[in-house]
């Protein structure tokens, strides 16, 4: 007997028919003797509709009221899921954030969970009642409803799994796992059976948007095994059909490189002729950080004139205009020439095995050179090598790298 937290995302509870399919899966887990807590998202489209209502009335809506409005979506699904489970002869009840309660901070619309009071749910699970929890929501100590921000139901699921000391947290979604890269670009992409938290964090933040980054961080810290699997397949979580995100030491077959990730929404900024003096980087990046602009890759070039240097970095395209404003307002850079480019893409190879294997970067550079792809910026971490290239070469680069590391082959 295991204790399982199973989370169903929006497409997995899109309508009442999909809710019933999800209930069928839970019923099979219960029949195996498992204790199950279920986390549900809002039905497809509901959250967006509710956000539109708020925005239609006021663009500067009170986020406390926004949270009250938007949290209703998960409330509906929780009640319906409980009804669907009861129809299958399973004892079940819904739990809203304030009923558990799931205490959060007061940062409405992107609150963080501070504490989950589990005694009531523990009792419920031990008596073989399935607990159906509305995802994405919490309550402040002042009894106002909060929401956890987009993708927050993943966070609810992982946090509850940690609080209940669950054996596994299954995230049912519309894909059947994490792939070595996007199968739309590389048809040979292979589903990864097991992946470490660290690798998943790199992949999540690099664009494989299956799991919310915050939920992976929490799973890592709390050591909760998380499985990504499809609600559209026949298999249930206990069949382990998806990708298990877990501790490095629980992964037997280690690949040097586990995936090729990419991002197309970056902008490259080059500031020319910056005085080459100590502290200039702080003067450049300090104000950007203050403006909440997330700088990713950074390269400092050697300039022919040794008193000046060029700085190149990447930021999200959506922050480009804001970043230029910030830079131009600085005394030090107001006369600098600034060049920008949005026709760039970042490609990364990720793998925990890199730590103990030399030559990963060499293989990458060779594979790209062979296809005539120019590397504009390079950045590396312990388990990742990223390069910035012209966007038009993106698919070519991803395919070349996937093949170069032999990712299509099972271990």
């Amino acid at each position: 007997m295991a204790r399982i937290v199973a989370k169903f995302g929006g497409t997995s509870v899109a309508d009442t028919a999909r809710i019933e399919k999800a209930a069928d899966k839970i019923a099979r887990e219960v029949a195996l003797g498992h204790e199950v807590a279920v986390i549900v998202s809002a039905m497809s489209g509901v959250t967006n509709q509710l956000i539109e209502y708020c925005a239609a009335i006021s663009e500067t809506y009170d986020v406390r009221e926004y949270d009250t409005v938007v949290a209703s979506g998960e409330q509906v699904t929780a009640g319906l899921m409980a009804i669907a489970l009861q129809k299958r002869g399973i004892s079940a009840r819904s739990w809203l954030g304030w009923q558990v309660p799931i205490i959060s901070d007061e940062v409405h619309s992107k609150a963080r969970i501070q504490d989950i009071k589990t005694p009531l749910m523990e009792d419920s699970l031990k008596n073989k009642h399935v607990a159906v929890l509305a995802g994405f929501q919490g309550v402040t100590t002042e009894k106002r409803i909060t929401t956890l921000g987009r993708g927050g139901s993943d966070t609810t699921a992982v946090a509850l799994a940690a609080a209940l000391k669950a054996d596994r947290c299954d995230i049912y979604t519309d894909v059947d796992g994490i792939y070595t890269t996007d199968p739309r670009i590389v048809p040979e992409a292979r589903k990864i059976t097991r992946i470490s938290y660290e690798e998943m964090l790199e992949l999540a933040s690099l664009g494989a948007k299956v799991l919310q980054v915050r939920s992976v961080e929490m799973a890592y810290k709390q050591n909760v095994p998380v499985q990504v699997l499809s609600s559209f397949d026949d298999a249930i979580g206990s069949d382990l059909p998806g990708t298990l995100v877990t501790k490095e030491e629980d992964i037997m077959e280690q690949y040097v490189v586990n995936g090729v990730a990419f991002a197309k929404d970056e902008a490259k900024v080059t500031v020319l002729g910056v005085p080459d003096v100590p502290g200039v980087a702080a003067k450049l990046f300090g104000p950007l950080a203050d403006a909440a602009i997330n700088v990713d890759m950074i390269v400092q070039n050697i300039s022919p004139d040794s008193t000046k240097t060029d700085m190149t970095f990447t930021i999200p395209q959506t922050d480009l205009a804001h970043a230029l404003e910030v830079l131009k307002s600085q005394e030090l850079f107001k006369n600098s020439e600034i060049r920008t480019a949005t026709d760039v893409a970042k490609v990364s190879v990720v793998g925990i095995g890199m730590r103990s294997h030399a030559g990963v970067a060499k293989t990458m550079f060779a594979a790209l050179a062979e296809k005539g792809i120019n590397i504009q910026v390079i950045s590396t971490s312990e388990i990742k090598v990223s390069v910035l290239i012209a966007k038009e070469y993106l698919e070519l680069a991803v395919r070349a790298l996937h093949a170069a590391y032999g990712l299509e082959k099972a271990a």
Copy 2:
């Protein structure tokens, strides 16, 4: 300065545009210096959609889960209304049933309010914050969400007005008041300026479905003046444009008859050849009451054979099949001939002035006779005379009675 509770029904908060119109009205009340608490229903169609979801999954859904699902509709409107008020520079916040809290019994889907804890709302109102309360919902002492049954937002409004000792409870709806009869049948029907609780109760239960009966009963008991008015007009509640339901002694201009009500959903049942012995009525109506079938008019006819009698009564058409089953299962009636008719209608004249005026019934019978309308059953109360007639004569009868009592003329 007055304290006002204002309730907006489904069509008055049909969409975000209507919510903004309602907020405009509240803003005008606030500008007059009034303390205002607002009760909102779900946006048009939302409650039905949510009920359909429950029924689509299971016809025998758990009413506790049904309540969790359905109560979300008012939650959304409460948040949106608070946002709309804030946009108008008014300090406002939403309150859900469990936040106030509004304690109800545990009869889910048709719960009754037991207690409203007002200290938090009182504080809020005294500080000139508009309190926006989700109608139709409560919470049990076990912290499960309840709903108050159809039309329950009216009850929430009246109960809150009583608890807050409000000067008036304004029910904004899609009609501009209570009329002497249905203007679709009698174009000359006149809007009633003031009406007593007792008369309103008779009119409400007789088919003028503007106010939920339970809310009128509560207003009567708690002595809360209730105004029915239109959210589609320019006037606000403090202009007193609608119909005020209030104490008899607060009504200056008294009519003998105040309105002509009717109901088309009644069925007539006649049980022939019932033994004319003491206790037979109890044996007939006892089992019907046990089956929760509401018997309305009752007539016991004298039978030619003095050992037997015929009993005629009316019940809602929807209960007819069930009632026949119940009767046939009784030893005493299983061989009785039972005749039923659904082509009947009940017409009633209502007026508190009847108590002190003779001749009201006489005028009624004469007016109907003059049009050749046969009366099948008569029943009377202190402030009402009802007759059952063939349904095809309904409109003719209503027009004849409206004219006979001169209801088109203002006092």
